[in-house]
């Protein structure tokens, strides 16, 4: 195969990949888009192996078969609730593969100087830190390690120092000749692994959507730069597309959380120590009437008031949050929605972009529970309609419906776009407790007159409402 033919076919395959992504802009065509992407990737493998004349090396095929079988079984068995972890792990694998490729290039003596050398070294660094960062993110999402930020003394100083050290190593590997290259390669790998791990440990659970998106972007960039080292246009182009996608999702998530990506990475979580006293004070002032009010109404009365709210309603909007995922309540939510529709109510779902632990998390859970996607509304589309809504049902969401984001200047969530459920005639909240959410900001919604607060496991609260409505 001539280089020209190789480049042309590569270009066609990249176009196919981009077209596949384009098809993902509608749920009706998205399945086809995904299949097209998979086909183009298969084509890329065959094309590359043909071009380099390595089609007949058996163990390459065996390795691919092993990986393929593991990947397929894994994806078929994983529960939808574990999707964020799975995405994080696969991300890490992509980074791992890129860094191993770079490692082989650097230690095999096949890159001499200049462009190939520096790109291989950078690919090694980005790949390695994507790998370790993703593994920590996955472990956090799977609750193997605490979702709270883990901060050690001088965390920022250590991070900055290791970043500088990595920079020095990258310069050294370029100017140093062959002697010592293996050592430098190992050092780059070790330092990058440490940086990825150290960075991610400090990220809290609710910042995971941003972190995963960013790591997704890195895994693409690592691939693209490894592609530059071996001068493979396919790898460069597709890696670039993945990098762009991760970047875009990171931006979307940051905007929706009113956070800056550097704040997330530097561990400036919303629950900062200096802010805490203010929050506690305000709680101390106001929590007394809240408890008194709660005491006025018994559990039974709450159920009744929730029931009557639903019975009288015409328009109902359901707002899911991470708590729904935790209590696996999506099927009960759907059951309640079905019952409400039987009673002639109009039911919609309002999805905040950062509800859950990854972009679009709630949509997937509700789709799994058979909720038709035209009922799933984006924040900007549904916000103007809360005024005409009779009942809003909040299931395990807190910060994304907290009116303080609009009213309380100086709190960490001030300025964050929220679902304005407060404007609805009645609000029923099924949350675990009435403590502040991840942001650490008290939610004044809980104390409002038109709000019924049902504390405890969301699944249980929902079952109670459903059984009330069934009589």
């Amino acid at each position: 195969m001539t280089p020209l033919a190789f480049y042309l076919v590569s270009l066609g395959l990249v176009a196919g990949v981009v077209w596949g992504i384009h098809l993902m802009n509608k749920p009706q065509t998205a399945v086809r888009g995904n299949l097209l992407g998979a086909l183009c990737l298969l084509g890329s493998i065959v094309l590359t192996m043909t071009y380099y004349g390595i089609l007949d090396i058996e163990w390459l095929w065996i390795s691919m078969a092993v990986g393929g079988v593991i990947g397929y079984i894994w994806s078929a068995w994983v529960k939808m609730i574990k999707m964020p972890q799975l995405v994080a792990v696969f991300n890490g694998f992509g980074g791992c593969a890129s860094s191993l490729v770079a490692f082989l290039l650097l230690t095999g003596g096949r890159v001499e100087k200049g462009f190939s050398l520096i790109t291989a070294a950078i690919a090694l660094a980005i790949g390695a830190l994507t790998f370790s960062g993703s593994m920590i993110a996955a472990a956090k999402l799977n609750q193997w390690i605490t979702q709270r930020p883990i901060v050690v003394k001088k965390h920022s100083a250590i991070t900055n120092l290791s970043l500088c050290f990595l920079g020095v190593l990258l310069v050294m590997i370029v100017i140093a000749g062959d002697p010592g290259r293996n050592l430098l390669t190992a050092l780059i790998a070790a330092t990058s692994l440490f940086i990825g791990l150290f960075f991610t440990l400090r990220v809290g659970g609710a910042d995971m959507p941003i972190t995963i998106s960013l790591l997704n972007s890195f895994s693409g960039v690592a691939g693209a730069i490894a592609g530059m080292a071996i001068r493979d246009p396919l790898l460069v182009a597709v890696g670039g597309v993945v990098g762009a996608s991760g970047l875009l999702l990171t931006q979307v998530m940051c905007r929706a959380m009113n956070r800056n990506v550097f704040d997330v990475l530097s561990g400036r979580t919303a629950v900062q120590s200096e802010r805490k006293p203010a929050v506690i004070e305000s709680r101390a002032d106001e929590s007394v009437p809240a408890e008194a009010a709660a005491a006025d109404e018994t559990e039974h009365e709450k159920e009744e008031s929730a029931e009557s709210a639903f019975r009288d309603a015409r328009r109902v909007v359901i707002v899911p949050g991470y708590g729904m995922a935790l209590s696996q309540a999506q099927h009960l939510v759907k059951k309640l929605a079905d019952r409400l529709e039987e009673l002639g109510k109009d039911v919609k779902y309002a999805i905040h972009p950062v509800a859950g632990r990854m972009p679009g998390h709630m949509n997937v859970l509700l789709a799994e529970a058979d909720v038709p996607y035209e009922q799933l509304c984006e924040m900007d589309d549904i916000n103007p309609h809360f005024k005409e809504t009779d009942v809003v049902l909040v299931v395990g969401a807190n910060d994304v419906v907290n009116p303080s984001a609009i009213t309380a200047k100086g709190t960490p969530i001030y300025g964050m776009p929220i679902l304005q459920v407060d404007e609805a005639r009645r609000v029923v909240i099924c949350n675990w407790d009435d403590k502040p959410g991840y942001s650490g900001v008290d939610n004044p919604l809980y104390r409002k007159k038109h709000v019924t607060l049902m504390l405890g496991d969301a699944a249980e609260s929902l079952s109670k409402i459903i059984s009330c409505l069934e009589d």
Partner: protein, 94 residues
Amino acid sequence: MGILLLIVLFLAATIIGYKVIGNVPSLLHTPLMSGMNALSGITVLGALVAAAVSVSTGSKIIGAIAIIVATINVVGGFAVTHRMLKMFHRKKDQ
């Protein structure tokens, strides 16, 4: 391929990708992400090329590992995206 051309290609792909992905609704952001994830396994191409020319047993093993993890990423990523996308349906399809 020339260095300059590779860099131009990278930038072009990034910009085009950014434009196209911007049109994907947030409804599909999770499948989009896992699909992109699968695509990042394209590094399997690099793994194949680097593994094929490796000489020592050690580097062959590293090459094989690289191929395996990259293929897990590709196959697992596309399969799970497919699984998710099939769950999205409209009311009348029920």
